[in-house]
Amino acid sequence: MKNEYLPKIAVIENIINETSDVKTFTLQLKDKAIGKLKYMPGQFMMLSLPGYGEAPFTFATMPAANGRFQISVKRSGVLTNALHILKEKDAVGIRGPYGNSFPLDRMKNKDILFIAGGIGMAPLRSLAQYVFKNREDYGKIEIIYGCRMSKDIIYKNEIESWRYNPCTEIYLTVDAPDDTWGGTCGVVCAVFPRIKINPKTSIAILCGPPIMIKSAIKDILKLGFRDSNIYASLERYMKCGIGKCGHCYIGDKYVCLDGPNFSYLEMKKLGLDS
């Protein structure tokens, strides 16, 4: 009988300092005999640090043949603080993958708008990597990424490299620009007038702080995006990842089982109107 709460052991192979409070960890399961974590972009896993407990993190890279994956962690609580102190070769506990993926099938042959805010770029990076790897399956791609300050931007070089993909537009914007910032200023919504894809037939995928999701959905609805074509990755406090602990449910849905990715049509049914 398998105990779903029992983590597998993973080793930190590499740590990248993205910003002053975000680190990206490259992880690999220690016992390769267990096999790889078979996940899809948008799913998450529970990371354990003995003594500190567990917290959910989304995969920040697309599934790789060698089984390596990355997570990007913003220092914001007890566990993430402890995680930031770890070094390469240290071990952590992993279980998952959990939750649903982004609507990969529905996205096929469609134009896609990504809207990311802050650390919300992590799951969308996994999706972007997947989409660029299978570039011919998708239409035009526009990615809007907003941060508070330019020093908060994560995956800077990789995002710049995405511009070389065919039919791809990248818009970076910051709320509080400093002298070094020569790009767009303002929240993600400030970029919306520049979107070229047809809102009526395109799919929008959002991930970011709740306040960004709320205002961005409101504005893309005005552009003409359909309820069923807008997807947001929701963040909730969760303790188990398997629909038992009771923390994350909204209406009759458990974010960890039925989500974390919901269409705006579903969100409205759950009372999460923008």
């Binding site: 398998k2 779903e4 917290a55 913003k74 914001s76 071990a91 702080p209 709740p210 602990c245 009759d252």
Partner: protein, 344 residues
């Protein structure tokens, strides 16, 4: 179904025999001030064959204890874990039909995929002997209204229904029939007179109570048609004592923490509740339910709507423990009444 009969004297003998087959015999006993509680009476012999009313705390605590180890941490430094197996064989005796229904609902929830092994290993090694209620346990209880009593329909291995000469015995499972087979001599066939007496219990309840239309109730809640003033009132009365979530036989929310002793330790789950302000608060500081009244609202919505939508039945069994415990006099019966009335 063939119904059996057992005398009080033989029931005592049956318990003696059952005790030999289990590690823990969890049965009602009298605490100070005559309160009934469930306790392991395998060696103490304090169990009551029959009792009035219901236990203060439901037997839920033996399946979902206040704290429970999910697995062992063999080494913090090396990040090594090891599963724990609970091989304890438990017999639950004298469980009221409302609590039997609560266990059935909780079992379905935990065994629904992905399976919670920690709960499953306990429930699969447990035997449940229900004790039907001859009369309403308190004026606040509403088990018949919630279709959870006074006699259990399923979820038990054996059920005893008290009648004047002894107990009618119903077999509810293979485990139950094995107990009867093994202790064959202690049982008789029930007489039509005894069976009539058992039937009269139900008749009595039917005369004085009406089933709640839980589907209609769930729909009103789902459609957000509960008057805001009702939620306001409940929010005002709730002092976050957490009595309701602690005593509710179907509450199962938990949190997780590690307890260490040097380099070793355990990962624990401990009972948590939606009424606490921090229940949905995240590390970054965002709280999807910032208002006090929204917390106690989740308690009501989960019992009366979420579980109806997910499993087709409400997870309130009418035991009235939350009503008894609430210092703010929040009464789920009055809530249900006001919601249905308000929507008409």
């Amino acid at each position: 179904m063939k119904r059996l009969f057992i005398t009080s004297e033989n029931l005592g003998l049956l318990i003696k025999s059952l005790k030999k087959d289990c590690d823990e015999f969890i049965a009602p006993k009298k605490e100070h001030l005559s309160d009934i509680i469930f306790s392991d009476t395998k060696y103490s012999g304090e169990e009551l064959l029959n009792y009035d009313g219901n236990s203060i705390v439901s037997p839920r605590t033996f399946l979902l204890p206040q704290t429970e180890a999910l697995f062992e941490i063999i080494s913090v430094k090396a990040c090594k874990f090891s599963a724990i197996e609970d091989k304890t064989k438990r017999i639950f005796y004298g469980v009221r039909p409302c609590d039997i229904k609560a266990i059935t609902l909780t079992k379905r929830f935990f065994i629904d995929k992905p399976v919670d092994m920690c709960y499953r290993q306990k429930i699969e090694r447990s035997t449940f002997i229900a004790l039907a209620c001859a009369r309403r346990c308190s004026e606040k209880s509403f088990c018949y209204e919630m279709d959870a009593g006074p006699i259990a329909k399923n979820g038990f291995d054996l059920q005893l229904t008290p009648v004047s000469m002894g107990y009618i015995v119903d077999i509810g499972s293979k485990k139950g029939s094995q107990i009867v087979k093994k202790n064959n001599k202690l049982f008789n066939r029930s007489s039509s007179l005894d069976e009539k007496e058992a039937k009269d219990i139900l008749k009595g309840f039917r005369k004085t109570a009406k089933r709640i239309n839980y589907k209609k109730l769930a729909k009103i809640i789902a459609q957000n048609k509960v008057k805001e003033s009702i939620w306001d009132d409940i929010g005002l009365r709730c002092v976050v004592c957490s009595g309701c979530v602690t005593l509710c036989p179907t509450c199962s929310c938990f949190s997780v923490m590690d307890r260490l002793d040097g380099d070793r330790g355990v990962r624990l789950r401990y009972c948590d509740g939606c009424v606490y302000a921090g229940f949905t608060k995240m590390a970054g500081g965002s709280a999807p339910f910032p208002n006090h009244k929204d917390h106690i609202r989740r308690f009501f919505e989960h019992k009366l709507n979420v579980d109806v939508e997910r499993y087709g039945v409400p997870s309130c069994v009418g035991c009235a423990r939350c009503i008894e415990a609430c210092p703010g006099n929040i009464d789920i019966r009055k809530f249900i009444g006001a919601v249905i009335e308000g929507a008409e």
